[in-house]
């Protein structure tokens, strides 16, 4: 990637500048929200109660039967993946010297981001906390089978 230094007085390329500007703004806006979402996530899942010891299918099922935590986790999924992918894009832009490699890595990053957002969103909305035929002792206490 060759570096082009523009003439100081040349008019700026508005389209390109805006994409990077919105990316810059997104990192800060999503960052503030993510601090709250992730600190809350760590506090409820790892600090309260039995922490990591208590996390199992029944724990997740119990949480996601409440729309509050569904929305919480969904927001975290979207905001964090886009924030992380854009951060990785910045790093790729900084450290790759071959343009083809840079493009390939950036495309791979956004493809992974999109795949995980689709996967996570589907899981949050199609998740069944009481799957038929599962052992009752693995299910949340509100399931008819348990």
């Amino acid at each position: 990637m060759s570096v082009v230094i523009e003439q100081p007085r040349s008019p700026r390329n508005r389209k390109q500048a805006n994409f990077e500007k919105y990316g810059w703004m997104y990192m800060r806006a999503s960052g503030v929200v993510l601090v709250i979402l992730i600190f809350g996530h760590l506090f409820t899942n790892l600090f309260l109660g039995e922490g990591i010891k208590a996390i199992d299918f029944a724990f997740v099922g119990g949480k996601w039967s409440d729309p509050f935590w569904q929305v919480w986790d969904l927001l975290m999924l979207w905001l964090a993946l886009i924030h992380g992918t854009n951060g990785m894009r910045t790093i790729v832009n900084d450290y790759t010297s071959r343009e083809g490699l840079r493009k390939a890595l950036v495309i791979a990053l956004w493809a992974i981001c999109a795949a995980l957002i689709v996967l996570g969103t589907l899981v949050v909305f199609t998740f069944d906390p009481c799957p038929a035929g599962s052992p009752a002792n693995l299910l949340p206490s509100f399931c008819p089978a348990s």
Partner: protein
């Protein structure tokens, strides 16, 4: 003898190292996030599959790695707030150095509040 440059907001000293740490912790958190979305997606498959995989998170080695993850998240989150203050607060640049130490101290306090509790869960103390 040429003397060392004094360092600026971006080069050398706190300005640079805070940025280096921000990158390293960011990359680490990103790769954990990829794994974490995949492991959580197993709840859609079966309770047995999810419990088997999440069981490995409760082992001593991964339990210790979780401490590192939480430390990385605390630093990245609080230093991110510092970056926002440098960008938007009128006195942000002036206080960037002291703000970094505030970030380190708050991170350390939160980490020390979390670590004993998490270790007791992992090791059954």
């Amino acid at each position: 003898m040429p003397s060392m440059p004094a360092g600026t907001l971006y080069r050398g000293k706190v300005g640079m190292w805070s940025w280096v740490l921000h990158r390293i912790t960011g990359v680490a958190i990103f790769f954990f996030l990829l794994v974490h979305v995949l492991d959580t997606a197993l709840v859609r498959l079966s309770p047995e599959a999810y419990n088997a995989v999440i069981g490995t998170y409760k082992t001593p080695i991964i339990g210790l790695a979780e401490l590192g993850l939480v430390a990385a998240i605390l630093y990245h989150a609080l230093n991110g707030v510092r970056v926002i203050l440098i960008d938007f607060w009128r006195k942000g640049v002036k206080y960037q150095n002291v703000m970094w130490w505030v970030v380190v101290i708050i991170s350390a306090v939160l980490f020390l509040g979390f670590a004993p509790r998490h270790l007791s869960h992992v090791f059954g103390w």
